[in-house]
Symmetry: C2
Subunit: 204 residues, 2 copies
């Protein structure tokens, strides 16, 4: 699916689908943490199934993919890390500074847990893959992960977190990036990776 | 939260919360893929918000953590990779063979997308972190990721996938594990990592 959409249409779609995904994010959190009675859970489940039927009246056939706006911007609304429409995405908001620094401040709650009270080590890897990769991304010319190495200094607590990355060097189609995740006490996980601009887009 | 629960209670809780999380997984997929009219989306959102209110009538204060059954088994039902109660989890079912091989067959849909039609590289990292780490886990004595290195051979398509890992060697508190993700055509991502049994549990 790669329809070109006008900016006015995008704003309208955003106002419909953004709040829907936010509602589902709140539902995910309550689903994990509820201790409601079985009858209340059954009543909630019935409403959820009704909502799914309503939304499924018209579906795109596969995944969301990346849609294009008429100003050349891309909408990765289904993306598991930044997708406006993907309730699994925190979602991350990626900032690009003029000096090449890429950073994001975000909050990870109960849905991203590994060790009790802590972010799953693999979730830290996913965030760092995305943030390091973002140093190499160019509009309409994504970079793919070649290698990624993670060093876990200590557990990353659930709650407010920060991630950042910068380019170490560029060699042809390869961008070498470094970065980390931190909580208020400092760095918890460090990463470095190689991101590649394929000559041909490997998209399906 | 670390209450000890009887096996009969666990089976009852599983029958209440397992289907709830499955319903939310279907809702997540429809939320990403729907092209329903804005009025239908609004009606669905209202039902979702009602369900969240019902489930939120009683909540545990923080994340789910790991609860204990009276046979010594642990229930990581909030875990982002294997959690029965976590709609973000596919969830993975981890198999341990007698020879130490750990493997899982799973399906990743639209909710885990990165490049169009493909699994997000970071999601592959999260799966591999979990599967490699599982080679080192012992009941009541989890292992934490020390380092993890990923080599991406090609894009991993959305759909049915396989991941496996085995122990390469053990050196004191450190377990060195290797593994990969594969689709029907072969390996897409390789990984190796070091997993550590801390002398004191670093849980919050």
């Amino acid at each position: 699916m790669c329809a070109v959409t006008s900016n006015a249409e995008i704003a309208q779609l955003e106002s419909v689908y953004g709040p829907l995904a936010d509602s589902v994010r709140r539902l995910i959190d309550a689903t994990i943490r509820t201790t409601a009675e079985p009858t209340a859970v059954a009543a909630a489940k019935e409403k959820i199934d009704c909502a799914t039927v309503e939304l499924s009246a018209a579906l795109i056939p596969d995944s969301f993919g990346v849609q294009q706006a008429d100003d050349g911007q891309t909408m990765a609304w289904g993306n598991v890390m930044i997708g406006l429409r993907n309730p699994v995405a925190p979602p991350l908001t990626i900032h690009h500074e003029a000096d090449g620094l890429v950073w994001t401040d975000f909050v990870l709650g109960a849905a991203y847990e590994g060790p009790p009270g802590h972010v799953h080590g693999g979730m830290c890897a996913m965030v760092l893959d995305h943030v390091l990769g973002a140093t190499a991304h160019k509009p309409g010319r994504p970079a793919f992960t070649g290698t990624l190495t993670l060093r876990y200094l200590r557990g990353t607590p659930l709650g407010p977190l920060h991630a950042e990355a910068r380019i170490d060097r560029v060699d042809g189609v390869k961008t070498f990036a470094v970065g980390h995740i931190a909580d208020a006490q400092g760095i918890t996980v460090e990463a470095d990776g190689v991101f590649i601009h394929p000559r041909q887009n490997r998209s399906a």
